[in-house]
Amino acid sequence: MEPLLYIADLEKQVMDDFHLGPINLKLEPGTITALIGNNGSGKSTLLKTIMNLVKPDHGNIKIDNMFVHGENENWKRLVAYQPQTIIGWDAFTGEMLKKLIAPLYPDWDEALFQKMVELFEVPLGKKFAKLSQGVQQKLNLALTIPRNAPLLILDEPTSFMDIPSKKLLIDLLVEWMESGNRSILIASHQIDDIKKLSDYLFVLHNGKMLGHFEKEELTSTYARYWLRDSLSDTRIPGEVTREDRMIISDNPMETEAYLEAKGIQWSNRSSLELDDIITILLNNKKM
């Protein structure tokens, strides 16, 4: 299947002290990818580069086979982007913003917009600048998701939201994805968003790409063992980290084969939670 978003060898030097990339990424239609990384890892810069708001030094980005940094700008209708920081909306009310934004997207879903406004209790007659951060974020989402663009890019969509609203949003996004030919790329630090929504995880660390993982596969890759006896200092195959008699492995098959061969028994084996795995990946060190 042709990827909806295709990024190849993307690199960008930001100021003197931050280098993003090289990044390679393909997003298939019908998938949700969580963009994960430590603070300052370049998540927002990557999303802005996809939107042609930041120009890359090297590499290519294609949306539906159109170069984002080329002459043809028709790809813009295929993307709905919710930025983390909203600039330029302050003077307008929600109603005015809708009048401005909706006509730009041929598949604008008015019913979904009204539904979101009602669910999130967004006052459309109030100036954007006078709304709380949480309500601003809700309005921003209500003006982004109904664009019904094939690619939805969300940058920290729930960072200021209350818990019930987060749940509502997750349900809305799941429902929105049901048409099948859409993709979401979501930058988030919220583990619940990542757990409930994502099919794939794209992990960045200080601008470098750590990997693009299928979520279920990633969780099945890691296992935690509690051993009956103390261990020698020798490193066990697959071992990522150890603490007293507990070890974590990113290759359970190799680890178990080694332990069995050495006659080392374990009293318990469990899977790791996704947040533990992400922590291991991001810290890039033994827990």
């Binding site: 930001v14 810069t45 802005k48 939107m51 708001l53 930041v54 120009k55 700008e73 813009k76 209708r77 993307v79 982007y81 930025p83 600039i87 330029g88 909306w89 302050d90 003077a91 307008f92 005015m96 009048k99 401005l100 934004i101 006509p103 730009l104 997207y105 600048a129 664009r147 663009a149």
Partner: protein, 242 residues
């Protein structure tokens, strides 16, 4: 043509929210024009540098007209200025040409109507009426509007974004001081070398060479549109909003 229509559609709300500032811009320009009307007879006889300065300010320094805070070109990031409206438009499904045209529309509405009406008022309310024929007056108008286009398009250009030291507060202050000094120096030089001011000479040139002046002015307007347009496209293709 379609891009002009889109550009107009997306500027409607901004215009609606800018109405008081547009009226203020018209009022200030109108006041300046009123000064010209009262001072022009004595200016034509004695020639005061102050009138030249005012005239050049109205037609050459329209970038100084204040916009509402939410739309004015301002610091978005460290040493990066842009209009928040442009940043917003860049997030939406709008092509670069439409964004540029929307900035041109906004700038033109702030300046063009009041400048044109002001010049017509000066013509009919001062001795200019007896000095310039209608044809010569048209060339006079074309000359000053071409200056307005040439320098005024700096406003939409800046609104798209500028990065670097020169857009820091210190950089902008230095530029403003240098501009004012150069402007004063230029006005004083013309007065001391020729005995008359810039506005006086523009009237005389329009009177003597109306067709040439009109032609050159129209060419200047076209060149300034093409150059600024191409410059703005280049900016949108290269600048990073980060």
């Amino acid at each position: 043509m379609n891009n002009w229509r889109y550009a107009f559609e997306i500027t409607k709300l901004e215009l609606q929210k800018s109405i008081y500032n547009i009226l203020l811009a018209y009022l200030v320009t109108g006041l300046f024009m009123a000064v010209f009307i009262t001072q022009l007879p004595s200016y034509l006889e004695e020639g005061t540098a102050f009138i030249d300065f005012l005239f050049l300010t109205v037609f050459g320094l329209s970038p100084l007209i204040p916009k509402p805070k939410s739309f004015e070109t301002q610091h978005i990031n460290y040493r990066f200025i842009a209009s928040p409206m442009v940043v917003m438009q860049q997030h939406l499904a709008l092509n670069h040409d439409t964004i540029i045209k929307s900035r041109l529309i906004i700038h033109s509405i702030y300046t063009f109507p009041v400048q044109l009406i002001g010049l017509i008022a000066i013509y009919f309310a001062t001795p200019l009426f007896s000095i310039l024929s209608v044809g010569s007056f048209i060339s006079f108008v074309a000359m000053w509007l071409s200056l307005s286009f040439l320098s005024g398009y700096l406003v939409p250009r800046l609104s798209l974004g500028v990065r670097g030291f020169w857009v820091s507060n210190s950089g902008l202050s230095i530029i403003l001081i240098i501009l004012c000094v150069l402007l004063f120096f230029f006005i004083i030089m013309v007065h001391s070398l020729s005995g008359h001011g810039i506005v006086y000479w523009s009237i005389m040139i329009a009177k003597e060479l109306p067709i040439l002046v009109t032609g050159v002015s129209i060419i200047l307007i076209m060149i300034s549109y093409i150059l600024w347009n191409s410059k703005m496209k280049k900016v949108l293709n290269t600048i990073s909003y980060s």
